[in-house]
């Protein structure tokens, strides 16, 4: 059932076992293991869900419940970089709309989409807890603060 390309390495499997042992019910390790899987396979496909379900001896439906509940699991292929612009209150007042509009123009995609070359996925998200330096966005694992269109251009330059 599981596609052969979906398979953790021996090292990754050892990490899965380590995480599972941390919780009274190994099901507790589902979130970190799904993140591992997303990193390893690029996104959480149905094949990945079934593979993870096997690792936890769960039915795939119960893994699907978790994956659809949270927003940080990508259920479609994502770009090499993820740009998530905050559009919550503080950032909105500080011009997030302009920043988001600028990104859409520069990247040529709508929110939720990935550039045709697979470089960037653009998202709009709720508060990321950096209101004091609004407007802001998250690029992969780092925060980019006090954004201006010029600063956004420089950041995009750096994304390959």
């Amino acid at each position: 059932m599981t596609a052969s390309r979906v398979q953790f390495s021996g090292e990754q499997l050892a990490e899965v076992r380590r995480l599972q042992a941390l919780y009274p019910d190994r099901r507790g390790a589902l979130l970190p293991v799904l993140h591992m899987a997303q990193d390893a396979f690029g996104w959480v496909s149905l094949d990945v869900e079934e593979y993870v379900a096997e690792l936890f001896d769960l039915s795939p439906a119960h893994v699907h419940e978790v994956v659809t509940f949270y927003t940080l699991y990508f259920r479609q292929p994502k770009g090499r970089h993820v740009v998530a612009v905050c559009h919550n209150l503080s950032c909105h007042l500080a011009g997030a709309k302009t920043i988001l509009g600028h990104l859409k123009t520069r990247l040529g995609v709508e929110v939720g989409a990935t550039t045709p070359d697979g470089r960037v996925t653009l998202l709009a998200v709720e508060c990321l807890c950096a209101c004091e330096r609004a407007p802001m966005m998250q690029v992969d694992d780092r925060y980019e603060l006090d954004l201006t269109p010029e600063k956004v251009d420089r950041i995009l330059e750096g994304l390959r």
């Binding site: 149905l46 795939p60 699907h64 419940e65 509940f69």
Partner: protein, 531 residues
């Protein structure tokens, strides 16, 4: 055992009893959706709120265990207001499609809205839309908009069948019940989720749009699908015969029995009633001469059969009875056998394919009364009867229910036996290849068309009641056998199944002391110990 007070009434309950069950014991119904006594506690629907003295706010009754000295009130103004608010939340996105919803009339949203809601709706926004009329599997169809996310179906698949097909996907008011993409809900017990769904989200594809539930009559019965003898209700449609294309049995539903099937039945049993209204039903006695088949009257048929039984020597007579016959039928047959001294009798015919079995309910033996036939001593070697027919020792063979030509016996050897006998008699509700060979066909009523008892594999004797009139001229097997008995010179035969059972209980030690009254709705164990 904790002793507590509910609405002013004292009650003592076993430790661990929750407040819904404790309230039930004093006749108080606490409304609820997600709680089901056969499943784990979810605490999801928030409807079963009750007031407990010395607690600051209403508490869910399902997840609160009775404690000594607890004082519970289920109808305070605060509880009523809470229920009304919870109902309002449950119905916020619920479509107003009761007129086209199969659940209407047995829907707990309708019932509780009328009993506990009755608010003026304040919802002015567009409702959230979700998938509708999605087949989940062969028997169940989903309307996600009607779902209140009680999770009973999810827990059923996790805890009872342990197949885990269903889940609640997405979040907040986008949450919806569903299957893992590409899978289906096809476990052998899948349709139980329809029974436990308190609303119209999961409905039965077989029953859907056939007839409104308020036109149905319910009759207590026993599933004849296997040796378990699950307790069921037969829902019949007699008031709207023009609906459902003349189907008289509209559906079967499980009936709770703590010792047999609890709340469940399998899908094979639930949908196994098709033969009742099938076109293969035998409606009148008939005789065959050569290729010509003609209807006969009961008088002619009984006289002919009794004449043959009386004319031949006992060892020229063979009977293959059926473990599908009720105890009453088998006992009437035994009286006929005794009267003529017939010893060539058996009832077990091997099936062509071995039956499936599991550790939930399903038994490999697909007959409802094999144990009863054994206790009545009719469990002889059926293969030997057939062999005697093949050897032309048996001149008249009487077959009940079985299609010997579709059995596990080699077709050629059955063929040879059926050709060798001078007179083949068939009794059963439905035609089959064997009945087509019969010289005399005496049609018997289907199980829903008469009353009787089956003895399940554990030796539990259980009653099934009459839900419908026999089709055509069919008679209960005990009745036609009684007529044969009288034609053979017996002074009289019992006129009702209950009287036959009385005679049976007096004659067969395993049934000593049992009566229809003592068996009741829950069944009673026969004395099946070493005898």
């Amino acid at each position: 055992m904790p002793r507590l007070t509910i609405n002013g009434k004292e009650v003592e309950v076993p430790a661990g009893t929750n407040l819904i069950e404790a309230a039930r014991r004093v006749g108080v119904e606490v409304p609820h959706y997600c709680y089901h006594p056969g499943l784990s506690i979810a605490g999801q629907c928030r409807l079963c709120m009750v007031d407990i003295e010395k607690t600051p706010r209403p508490t869910i009754a399902c997840n609160t265990q009775a404690v000594d000295g607890m004082v519970v009130w289920t109808e305070t103004d605060r509880v009523k207001e809470t229920r009304r608010s919870v109902m309002e939340f449950h119905l916020i996105n619920h479509p107003l499609d009761c007129p086209v919803c199969d659940q209407a009339g047995e829907c707990w949203l309708q019932i509780y809205y009328m009993k506990h809601g009755l608010y003026d709706p304040r919802m002015t926004d567009e409702k959230v839309h979700k998938p509708k009329a999605v087949p989940l599997g062969p028997h169940v169809i989903l309307d996600a908009e009607r779902c209140i996310l009680c999770s009973r179906c999810v827990r059923f698949c996790d805890e009872i069948t342990k197949t885990g097909e269903l889940g609640i996907f997405h979040r907040g008011d986008h949450s919806e019940i569903g299957l893992f993409p590409g899978r289906e809900l096809a476990n052998p017990y899948s349709a139980n989720v329809v029974d436990i769904c308190p609303v119209g989200a999961l409905t039965d594809r077989d029953f859907r749009f056939q007839v409104r539930v308020w036109y149905l009559d319910a009759t207590k019965s026993i599933c004849p699908g296997c040796a378990r003898g699950c307790n069921i209700e037969v829902h019949t449609n007699r008031r709207r015969p023009h609906h459902a294309e003349g189907r008289r049995v509209a559906r079967l539903k499980p009936r709770y029995n703590a010792d047999v099937n609890r709340w469940w039945i399998c899908d094979a049993g639930r949908y196994g009633y098709g033969a009742v209204d099938d076109k293969t039903r035998l409606r009148a006695p008939s005789r065959r001469e050569g290729e010509a088949v003609a209807d006969a009257t009961w008088e002619e048929a009984i006289a002919a059969v009794a004449g043959t039984l009386g004319r031949l020597r006992p060892d020229e007579l063979g009977v293959i009875a059926s473990p599908r016959m009720a105890n009453e039928d088998l006992f009437a047959l035994r009286r006929v056998l005794e009267r003529r001294g017939i010893r060539r009798v058996g009832c077990r015919v091997p099936p062509r394919e071995p039956g499936d079995e599991d550790d939930i309910l399903i038994r490999a033996d697909k007959n409802p009364n094999a144990r009863g036939a054994a206790l009545l001593g009719l469990d002889g070697d059926a293969a030997a009867v057939l062999a005697a027919a093949r050897a032309r020792q048996v001149k008249c063979l009487w077959v009940f229910d079985h299609d010997l030509l579709a059995s596990g016996w080699p077709e050629a050897s059955v063929e040879q036996a059926l050709r060798a006998v001078e007179t083949l008699i068939f009794t059963g509700p439905n035609a089959n290849a064997t009945s087509e060979r019969a010289h005399w066909v005496l049609p018997s009523a289907a199980w829903v068309e008469r009353e009787g008892t089956y003895t399940n594999f554990e030796g539990r004797v259980q009653r099934f009641r009459q839900a419908l009139e026999p089709l055509g001229q069919a008679l209960p097997a005990w009745d036609l056998l009684g007529r044969v008995l009288v034609a053979l010179g017996a002074p009289a035969a019992p006129p009702r199944a209950e009287r036959w059972f009385g005679e049976l209980a007096a004659a067969v030690p395993a049934f000593a002391g049992l009566s229809y009254r003592s068996i009741g709705d829950a069944g009673q164990a026969a004395a099946t110990g070493p005898a």
